[in-house]
Subunit: 358 residues, 2 copies
């Protein structure tokens, strides 16, 4: 055998050994996965998560669903008690460079400007009308509240739904040149579908507006309006000119569904912690902690955006670029590792990001 | 034929004619009911509402369910959009002479009194500890709020559930000498079951406490915690000594689920009006109006307590005795008649009141 070839084989052997060593740690886990996948295949079914690469995150999800739906398993959960909570922005769809609902609000300021000549000279509206992106990026909570109240209130619940639907049908994301509802993560759609096929009720638990998300969530995610928990403004019961009951949207915050609010509102809507929770940012921390308080067998998952090519890369966890939108702090990453939560690497765990990528 | 016998037959004939005349007005309606009942029998099923006498209320419910579940019918509703809302006190279970939850609160004041020596000399607690029923009957909203906050807050959500369950297991209603959860209306249990068998999701929409009702509603009515809309206090996310997430119950009203609040909260929880709504008092008016705003085919039903023998008689509608608990004003009765809502006469429409009456 020529030396070059022998050296080549030797190198190949070492490479294989190195790969095997790397994988040894997760071999047991992968063994379990193989058994699970074989079991799925034996039943004539296909992989429930085809857009996922084989790895710890996919394994954890399949293992959890299998355990909670297998009678006799110590982690078995009766069907009526299988709840899964999903954050939306950054967990189910793209949140960078700006939340879709914020784009909606800014677009509405422009659309409503003719009725409000005073906005030309009044902040924060002036900056919006001037298209001053730097100023917009520095808006305070008070500025944002003013913009939300000006664009989200003063109409009936039905009128607001119609306005959002009209905007969604026309608006396009600047990077992908597609409607915002196209920018959903295919791997997460598969998880939702997989959970529902196993008797789970999937809920969206979003810091965004409940009424906004309800307009498209059923079509986009298969999640009906009664399973959307979100930030909500008060409504007021009254009558229209025909004497029919209507609900007017008021400029008063009723539910601020972020951080500890997510746990509190899950209790308000569901009555207890879910069995599984998926998030991606600091605002999801308490939701995952509340889920874990349910006890052994609970599934906590965080999406880490570490794919600057196919989507975005932001943290600042793990040295990723810092961001004000969907911040994933290092402390959250450390807590996840310490408590046995699962962190999805978008780059490594997801074969495919969007449904439109075939 | 002897005169006496002839007169007797004549009298019988007239009685039959009189009965027939009385029934003529509802003959068409009954004809439709017969067709529906035959159709049910043809499918090998039994009467879905066996505790109901045949009459307009039973007819309206069966007609509505048949229409909304028959494809091609102009009032057909897709399964995912079939919601039915039920008030609880006075609609699903007995509310006289005092709401069960108020009895719970007063019992808790007595139980907690040793930890609060100051209550012996402080109103409204003093009256409760003295068993002064006249004073209790005249408590203001502020008095009741003080009692609710003293007995319903300061513990975790889990601790409160345990306290309520313990009370329910021991407390007995004074008139029937039975647990409160036995005092549910069999005809309404049949309606809930009938609706669920036809793809409806049944919700309880109560002025009572959401957390209180959730402790027994699944077992008692087959309604799971996520389908209980009720008055709710704020909760606060925090950690126990072991560092686990918990929710503490705070003395601050978050949701006052009565009158217009019922319509507003149905929107908050469901996202729109239900297809059917059942109530019995002034506080249910806006819920029924909101239900009717859904459009043609909506079903609105009120229970009128006109049975002093088997349950209670109170209004003041239709000249029934006035009451502060579950008031059914004449204006509500008139509105029901004007708008085509259905009023159940407990005395005439219900064959049987309670499940324990065989």
């Amino acid at each position: 055998m020529p030396t070059a070839l022998r050296n080549g084989i030797e190198g190949l052997n070492q490479m294989v050994k190195s790969i095997l060593a790397t994988w040894r740690a997760t071999a047991v886990a992968l063994g379990i996965l193989c058994v699970l996948v074989s079991s799925v295949h034996a039943q004539g079914a296909t992989d429930p998560l085809p857009s996922w690469n084989v790895g710890p995150a996919k394994l954890a999800i399949i293992k959890s669903v299998t355990a909670t739906t297998t009678e006799g398993n110590p982690n078995f959960v009766p069907p009526g008690n299988r709840f899964a909570a999903f954050d939306q922005d950054g967990t189910l769809w793209v949140e960078q460079p700006m939340y879709a609902q914020l784009v909606f609000a800014l677009d509405r300021v422009v659309a409503l400007a003719p009725e409000h000549p005073e906005w030309k000279t009044t902040q924060p509206f002036k900056s919006v009308l001037a298209g001053d992106r730097a100023a917009i990026a520095n808006f305070t909570m008070k500025d944002l509240e003013q913009i939300v109240f000006a664009t989200h209130t003063g109409m009936t619940t039905g009128q607001f739904t119609a306005i959002v639907k009209d905007w969604l049908a026309k608006a396009h994301n600047r990077r992908w040149h597609r409607p915002y509802t196209d920018l959903v993560y295919q791997p997460m759609l598969e998880v939702m579908q997989y959970l529902r096929a196993n008797g789970y009720k999937t809920y969206i638990v979003t810091g965004g507006g409940q009424a906004f998300v309800r307009t498209y969530a059923e079509q986009t995610y298969g999640v009906p309006p009664e399973q959307i928990i979100g930030s909500a403004l008060e409504t007021q019961f009254t009558y229209n000119a025909a004497g029919e009951a209507i609900l007017m949207r008021l400029p008063k915050l009723l539910i601020n569904n972020d951080f500890s609010g997510k746990a509190e509102d899950i209790y308000l809507f569901i009555g207890g912690p879910p069995q599984a929770a998926f998030g991606n940012a600091a605002g999801d921390r308490e939701m995952l902690e509340y889920t874990q308080a349910r006890g052994k067998g609970a599934l906590m998952v965080l999406v880490l955006h570490d794919d600057p090519t196919r989507e975005y890369a932001y943290g600042p966890a793990q040295g990723l670029p810092a961001t004000k939108i969907g911040t994933f702090p290092q402390a959250l990453y450390d807590e996840a590792k310490a408590k046995g939560w699962n962190v999805i690497s978008m780059k490594h765990d997801w074969k495919r990001i969007f449904p439109f990528e075939q």
